[in-house]
């Protein structure tokens, strides 16, 4: 029974996604798709910020790379001739399937992460936080100035709306499965060892730099996938779509859900998608003096983060996973068996 639980979950998620795709109206479909994209973002950011202990703030940058790559590679050649007339010839002719474009974007983001990671991840402390924010500024500036390819501040619109619920939830399952497997493997244990004590990890044979780099590059790869999905959901992108706001919200999902727990990131992503969605209505209806309260939802998220840091720094889930918690509730947990051994047996 336990063996087939992941399989059942996959079938159930895809079945429900397919059902929702045909039954729900556009608004609900979009919210559901955004939830899946945010899960991809949070779970992948967790790899660095929760497991290897490096604090990345680069998710918006990697999303932008995925979004622009996929946009330019999938836009029909005829549209490109109008929207992006100055595109280099080889780019103006290509018209790739969505999946191929996503994979190319992911590869590109991974490459960028690799190049940034080499100078930064050898250093101690949280240089990565600043360097990845710097990367975000670099990517925005490039998107703003590289007119022939990105159309500058006007951005690219009229993208084919490829991102259906099945695509979004399919990729979400792939992301969660891959990262779950990485975490529950020697590679994941090495990441946690580095997080707990870098020097002690090195003295016990953990290749610290390579481990940190792996976490960072994998996180970037999936952030890029999420960016591509998002671009083809909204169907229009501009450089300012990928601002610090997005990174901040993904960090909030990870922190509130519980850094170091995959189910925590999933829960955080669902909560932190729905809550602002509700608050956005409050912003416009609860206007004081006829002026909408823009910023309210972000203020609530920031306050929640402050509260979590002060009163429950481990987040909602701590470092535990949902199956462990459920098993604990059912009283079936054998005290002698560590959580990870159980989980590894399942996956």
């Amino acid at each position: 029974m336990k063996r087939f639980a992941p399989l059942l979950l996959i079938v159930a998620v895809l079945g429900l996604a397919g059902l929702a795709q045909s039954a729900l109206n556009d608004y609900y479909q979009r919210v559901l798709a955004v939830i899946a994209i945010n899960i991809i973002l949070a779970v992948s950011l967790n790899l660095t910020n929760g497991y290897s202990g490096d604090f990345s703030l680069g998710h918006a940058a990697f999303m932008a790379i995925g979004a622009y790559t996929s946009a330019i590679l999938t836009l029909p050649a005829r549209t490109k001739a109008i929207v992006l007339p100055d595109l280099p010839l080889w780019l103006s002719q290509v018209e790739l399937p969505f999946i191929v474009a996503i994979l190319i974007g992911a590869g590109l983001a991974a490459l960028v992460a690799f190049v940034v990671g080499i100078p930064v991840l050898r250093l101690r402390g949280h240089y990565l936080a600043v360097a990845t924010l710097g990367l975000m500024v670099i990517v925005q500036v490039v998107a703003l100035n590289w007119q022939p390819v990105t159309r500058g501040a006007r951005g690219i619109s009229g993208l084919p709306p490829f991102t259906t619920l099945l695509w979004a939830y399919g990729w979400m399952l792939v992301t969660v499965a891959v990262i779950w497997r990485i975490v529950h493997s020697p590679l994941g244990r090495a990441m946690m060892a580095v997080r707990e004590d870098e020097l002690a990890a090195a003295c016990r044979g953990v290749p610290v730099f390579r481990t940190r780099l792996l976490a960072f590059v994998c996180g970037a790869l999936f952030a890029s996938v999420a960016g591509a999905l998002w671009a083809h959901l909204i169907t229009a992108i501009t450089p300012s779509s990928f601002s610090f706001l997005i990174t901040f919200n993904v960090v909030a999902m990870v922190v509130i859900g519980g850094a170091g727990s995959i189910s925590g990131s999933v829960i955080g992503a669902v909560l932190m998608t729905l809550l602002p969605e509700l608050l956005r209505r409050v912003e416009t209806t609860l206007a004081i003096g006829g002026q909408p309260l823009y910023g309210l939802s972000q203020i609530v998220i920031a306050l929640m983060m402050l509260a979590v840091m002060l009163f429950r720094p481990q987040g909602l889930m701590g470092r535990r996973e949902l199956p462990d918690v459920l098993a604990g509730l059912a009283g079936a947990r054998r005290a002698s068996l560590p959580a990870h051994a159980e989980a590894a047996g399942e996956a």
Binding site: V116, G125, V137, Q140, V141, M305, P313
Partner: protein, 299 residues
């Protein structure tokens, strides 16, 4: 195009930007030195300072010197308050807890300003005596330009005397060498940290006022990018090192302004990208910065 007066103008510009970066970088480096905190809310102290100055000039119709001193002291107090409420309870927690908290505070300030004052940029009109241009030794510049540099240098000189000569200043430098040992020597570390936050936030507020005066505009997100760039300046100089932050600030100011001034126009749009590529290069080649000491690994 490369006339002597153009070059002179760029030189003045660079001194201006460098002064502002240096003031912001000092605060970042002081707090990092003691708490190992990269304070992402530091740039927002600039924003708060700039709004307060604007309010002092327009709503209260106060003179220019008041529009400088009020933000400095009010934001300095705000810095202490934030430290007391948000950072102090997290001391002893993993380093990253404070970093996350500073992100949340940054968001709180930026969105608080957006909600109450709207995201619309507000124009800043300086008093006439600051905008008038003067000629000195064939150099033509606004009084404001000179004021920025003079003020920054005066503040930095005062700070240097403070950390060298006063007990609390010396304690501050001792703390950035080793907090625990300093504490064992009977220094009240809480007080040192509070003073560091007061100075740090106060200097950032001054920098914000100067920035808004130079560019004539205030908006809720104005402090974000300069705050990040000041971190680059602090890293260039050697993070944790106060003279290093000053040096790094001016180096970054010159690098950035000269990049824009002397690169072809199709490249100069990449100025912010240039600054952060510079950060990556510094981290690769000399991560300890120009004046920084190597962080010791203790087994």
């Amino acid at each position: 195009m490369l006339t002597p007066s153009y070059i002179a103008q760029q030189f003045i510009n660079a001194l201006n930007m460098g002064s502002i970066y240096a003031l912001v970088a000092i605060g970042l480096t002081m707090v990092y030195g003691i708490l190992r905190l990269i304070n992402f809310a530091h740039g927002d102290m600039m924003t708060v300072g700039a709004y307060l100055a604007l309010a002092a000039l327009t709503v209260l119709a106060l003179p220019a010197w008041a529009a400088l001193l009020i933000p400095m002291f009010v934001v300095g107090a705000l810095g202490v308050l934030i430290e007391r409420l948000a950072y102090r309870p997290l001391r002893g927690a993993p380093e990253v807890a404070m970093l996350i908290t500073s992100l949340a505070i940054s968001s709180l300030i930026e969105n608080g300003a957006t909600m109450t004052l709207t995201a619309q940029p507000k124009p800043v009109r300086l008093p006439a005596e600051l905008t008038q241009r003067v000629d000195v030794l064939g150099l033509n510049f606004a009084v404001m330009d000179a004021a920025i540099v003079a003020l920054a240098i005066a503040l930095m000189a005062a700070l240097t005397v403070f950390v060298r000569r006063t007990t609390i200043g010396i304690a501050m430098r001792a703390c950035s060498e080793n907090v625990r040992v300093t504490q064992l020597m009977g220094v009240d570390v809480n007080r040192v940290i509070a003073v560091a936050f007061a100075i740090s936030a106060g200097l950032a507020a001054v920098a914000g006022v100067l920035w808004s005066g130079k560019f004539g505009i205030v908006d809720p997100f104005m402090g974000f990018v300069p705050g990040l760039k000041a971190f680059v300046a602090a890293v260039i100089g050697g993070i944790g090192n106060i003279p290093g932050a000053m040096l790094g600030g001016y180096l970054l100011g010159f690098a950035e302004v000269f990049f824009v001034a002397f690169m072809p126009p199709e490249v100069s749009g990449y100025r912010d990208a240039f600054v952060f590529v510079l950060l990556l290069v510094v981290l690769l080649v000399r991560p300890t910065g120009l004046l920084g000491a190597r962080e010791v690994n203790r087994a």
